[in-house]
């Protein structure tokens, strides 16, 4: 739909913080951006490759990058970090080696840390991947949406809205379906709202999933 602005971008100055924290002079800004992009891509590809073996929900919520003069600190917020922490030292180190190879910078150390999120299903990225998994298993969309809402209610949120667009249930005519539970005040800037827009590829085409979760009001 054309009218709603992305709630993350809307709240950037106030209740929402950026995912990268560093400073650069205007001439070097785009190089820093390219580095960030490389780090994020590397981590996502690595997680996807390895998670396929264990077939779980991967659940990266956010990747925060903080850069200082001599250190790059990467914090990965994951919902289910078991998969990366099981054989504890090996996989983390592999990740670090991969990312360092991509960046090829000698004067800065790289440090990757993994944080576990308290309620994994309270974060829309992880929920969206869960719903996507359901669609790939040909679950009917209403059931999938309702199950997702149950999970968030356990995870202690004040409101959730899910919208699915595309060839729902594989029907020829595409449509848009949405459910809302609780309250989701999109116009209130003081309200912390997490948003995620996710694309699923099914055999019938691409489905777009948008999830708004209302967490807290200041």
């Amino acid at each position: 739909m054309g009218q709603k602005i992305n709630p993350l971008g809307f709240r950037l100055g106030t209740t929402q913080s950026h995912h990268s924290l560093w400073f650069a002079q205007p001439k070097k800004y785009s190089e820093g951006l390219q580095e960030d992009k490389k780090i994020r891509d590397c981590i996502k590809n690595y997680v996807q490759k390895n998670m396929r073996l264990s077939s779980g929900v991967e659940g990266i919520a956010r990747i925060e990058i903080q850069k200082r003069l001599d250190l790059i600190q990467v914090i990965i917020y994951m919902g289910f970090p078991k998969l990366l922490i099981e054989d504890k030292p090996r996989k983390l180190e592999e990740l670090q080696m991969n990312v360092q190879k991509e960046l090829n910078c000698m004067n800065r150390k790289l440090n990757i840390a993994i944080t576990r999120i308290g309620n994994p299903y309270g974060h829309p990225n992880i929920l969206a991947e869960f719903i996507a998994g359901q669609f790939k298993n040909r679950v009917s969309f209403r059931k999938a949406m309702k199950k997702a809402i149950e999970l968030t209610e356990q995870a202690d949120t004040k409101g959730i809205q899910i919208q699915i667009a595309g060839r729902i249930d594989g029907k020829e005519i595409a449509r848009v379906e949405w459910i809302r539970e609780g309250r989701v005040p999109l116009q209130t800037i003081g309200a912390k709202i997490e948003y995620c827009s996710y694309r699923v590829r099914t055999i019938y085409g691409v489905l777009g999933i948008k999830i708004w979760i209302f967490i807290d009001e200041e």
Partner: protein
């Protein structure tokens, strides 16, 4: 997206420009130093003799994500559409919606 040949052409121009950067700079300096016109023509001939792809003016900035040749911002190195998406995804440090 963009044809691979276009991307490689850009790369070629960038490499050549870097190689000849200092040579061209020194030629331009000599032109400005030397007082008489005929000597200036001599150095100018030197500049003209090297192939055109060595010149910085032949480079064309492209968005580093999509390789789009138009609508690029030098501050970010990105084209307008991708810039808009990344601002909303909170990936661009320090960029917020402007209001005053």
């Amino acid at each position: 997206m963009v044809k691979k040949s276009l991307i490689h052409r850009e790369k070629k121009r960038q490499e050549l420009e870097q190689k000849y950067h200092l040579i061209r700079r020194s030629s331009k300096k000599e032109i400005s130093k030397v007082p008489s016109l005929s000597e200036k023509w001599k150095f100018h001939g030197k500049l003209q003799s090297s192939p055109r792809n060595n010149a910085a003016t032949h480079l064309h900035r492209r968005c580093f994500l999509t390789r789009r040749p138009r609508a690029n911002y030098r501050d970010f190195g990105l084209s307008g559409h991708i810039l808009h998406e990344m601002v909303h995804a909170c990936l661009l440090m320090g960029a917020t919606r402007s209001s005053w």
